[in-house]
């Protein structure tokens, strides 16, 4: 069974990566690296909410929280456990 990091990473690559030669890892900066812009971040937030049946408050959905797969997973786990 895929772990959450792999699921999120796979989704990011599938949905937001135009350059298939660029290697994306759990630490790759997504927002500050220009891979996911601030508008697209809304769709990523929605994916997480739908996939994990959570609600992420807008004030927690910051560019910093979404900047890499590790930080995204930490954010999701915070709300799954609530």
């Amino acid at each position: 069974m895929e772990n959450m990091k792999d699921i999120v990473l796979k989704y990011v690559i599938q949905e937001y990566c135009e350059d298939d030669s660029e290697e994306i890892t759990y630490d790759t900066p997504l927002i500050s690296g220009g891979i996911v812009d601030s508008f697209s971040m809304v769709s990523l937030k929605r994916f997480l909410e739908v996939k994990y049946k959570i609600q992420i408050p807008d004030d927690e959905a910051t560019p910093e929280a979404f900047d890499n797969v590790n930080s995204i997973v930490a954010l999701v786990e915070k709300f799954i456990n609530k």
């Binding site: 350059d19 030669s21 927002i31 996911v36 769709s43 929605r46 910051t62 560019p63």
Partner: protein, 567 residues
């Protein structure tokens, strides 16, 4: 001492000849923006001055002096000539904020071709519509964006050349694809600039309206005159400034002031090709000692959201003058910046069609937080009645912003759309399509758009374009798109949809529709919320009453519903 000095004195004695003289131009001369932005600066003895200091998101850097700019833009111009591009051919630049975009625009202009910069986040549908309308002949792009171009190539018989600036040899190029690696080419020194004149077409920008497809806004080389002078008098660009314009050259700000204004004034500019992060932005300002910063309300509000504490971690003392563009700058942001940076952001107002700044706050002039400021010297601005287009003299009475036509950077046409172009002029006024009031001191105060165009993050999105794209989703029967208020972006896109039989509303479907629009059009056009409805409010004649939906989103009175279709 600011370049403008006293605003009041400037408006008394103003003539656009001031700018012509400073640029060494007189009526009838050859005038070429690409030449003015590179060769001329070298001729002034500034060939070794740094023109462009670029940094990418991985921290990689590239730097170009004005002589480098001259040589590399010559090189791109020669490359285009060699493959057969001629004057007035449309050449699209479809790249991230990489040096080839900045330099490429100058190269295109140097051969008399028409530059068509497009936002690199556009999906293939958005790209297709704009390339088809323009009859674009060549596109300069990056390998990551080339797939979008290849996808629509069959539908674009005019598009003959795809030029890839970062081809790495991993994929074989098709017959009409060319690699152009600027840093590994022999740069061209001796180059014949195409003899463009004042009314020669220069740039074709695309902008969205309420209805219909995006419009190609045609500009000419004479636009340089007001782009130059506004850069000097509004942005106050001085010889020792280090300038950062955060706008993407795919939009008019990034071209008029991120390329033309920066280079024709011989300024040193820095460009950061990375996504937004408060920490990275402040670090950039500190590292390059930015003195003049031209940004946008959405970014400023995002910085406000990041808080005051982070600012203290950086030395931003280099900042001398700050300005803002794209949407009205709320008073709170002006007050905040003064408190936190020690400098207020000076709001500026203009649009794709005007080509250069029309109303602004000026160095030395009192800033009224929340006000657009006053018309640039040489611009006659006023407020007119929404129906008669007669000037409103009453103080604080709402009406349409209006300008007397004829400033240098005024658009000359909507591409292949003279009918729509003519509608922008009424009773001797050019109408930008915004509403405002004028106070007793002559300051303009923005109210809102006069149409349904959505201004999200400073960029205009057409509800019609989004609605049309929604109808292409297999599950969507009908759609209506309106602006929804947003704390950071001012407005975001919200869609109301009805579904085709056999489809049920769900969160998964909402996400699917969002991603469908994001990829087809752009992340800006993506609805940030989708509301499912059993039926959309319509008039008895079947027209969707968008304004009812909008009013509900904004908590406004829904107005007259007598024409609403009954259940």
């Amino acid at each position: 001492m600011s370049n403008i000095g006293s605003y009041e004195e400037r408006i008394k004695n103003f003539d656009w000849l001031i700018a012509e003289k400073e640029l060494g131009y007189k009526a009838g001369d050859i005038i070429n923006i690409g030449w003015h932005c590179s060769d001329r600066i070298c001729q002034m003895g500034k060939g070794q001055k740094m023109a462009l200091m670029w940094e990418g998101h991985n921290g990689q850097t590239r730097q170009y002096t004005y002589n480098d700019l001259r040589l590399t833009s010559n090189t791109i111009g020669q490359f285009l000539r060699n493959i057969g591009i001629v004057a007035e051919d449309r050449v699209c630049l479809f790249m991230d904020k990489v040096p080839e975009l900045y330099i490429g625009l100058l190269g295109v202009l140097k051969i008399g071709a028409i530059a068509q910069p497009l936002f690199s986040a556009f999906g293939d549908e958005s790209l297709f519509v704009r390339l088809e309308n323009a009859g674009t002949r060549a596109i300069i792009t990056q390998k990551k964006h080339a797939p979008k171009v290849r996808k629509i190539l069959d539908k674009l018989p005019n598009l003959e050349y795809i030029i890839i600036v970062d081809h790495d040899g991993k994929k074989t190029l098709a017959g009409n694809e060319f690699a152009m690696d600027l840093d590994n080419m022999e740069w061209v020194d001796d180059f014949e600039i195409y003899p463009t004149k004042a009314e020669s077409p220069s740039i074709l920008h695309y902008t969205s309206g309420t209805t219909g497809l995006p419009k190609g806004v045609k500009h000419v080389h004479y636009s340089l005159i007001s782009q130059y002078l506004t850069s000097k008098w509004v942005l106050d660009l001085q010889d020792d400034d280090i300038y950062w314009c955060t706008a993407d050259p795919g939009w008019v700000t990034g071209t008029s002031y991120g390329i033309i204004g920066a280079f024709c004034t011989g300024s040193t500019q820095c460009v950061l090709d990375a996504g937004f992060s408060a920490e990275n932005w402040y670090n950039f300002i500190q590292k390059y000692k930015i003195t003049m910063w031209y940004s946008a309300p959405t970014a400023i509000r995002s910085l406000m959201k990041a808080g005051d504490e982070i600012v203290k971690q950086f030395d931003l003392s280099s900042l001398r003058h700050l300005a803002s563009v794209g949407e009205p700058l709320n008073a709170e942001a002006v007050v905040w910046s003064e408190r936190v940076y020690g400098k207020a952001f000076y709001d500026t107002y203009w649009q794709t069609e005007t080509g250069s700044i029309m109303i602004a706050n000026y160095p030395g002039m009192k800033v009224k937080p929340g006000s657009m400021g006053k018309p640039f010297p040489g611009i006659i601005g006023g407020i007119v009645d929404t129906e008669t287009y007669e000037e409103i003299k009453d103080i604080n009475k709402p009406g349409l912003i209006a300008f007397r036509p004829g400033w240098p950077a005024m658009m000359r046409m909507y591409w292949n759309n003279e009918e729509t172009y003519k509608k922008k002029f009424q009773n001797g006024w050019y109408l930008p399509g915004d509403r405002a009031t004028l106070d007793s001191d002559g300051y303009f105060w923005f109210i809102g758009r006069d149409d349904d165009v959505i201004n999200t993050g400073g960029h205009l999105v057409s509800p019609f374009e989004v609605e049309s794209a929604l109808l292409e989703h297999p599950s969507v029967a009908e759609s209506a798109v309106v602006a929804k208020p947003d704390e950071v972006n001012m407005e975001v896109v919200k869609a109301f949809v009805t579904l085709k039989p056999g489809n049920e509303p769900s969160d998964e479907l909402e996400l699917d529709i969002m991603n469908f629009i994001r990829k087809k059009l752009s992340p800006l056009a993506m609805p940030q919320e989708i509301e499912y409805m059993d039926k959309l409010p319509k008039t008895r004649s079947g027209k969707i009453m968008r304004r009812l939906l909008r009013a509900q989103e904004w908590g406004e009175d829904i107005g007259d519903t007598s024409t609403l279709e009954n259940d």
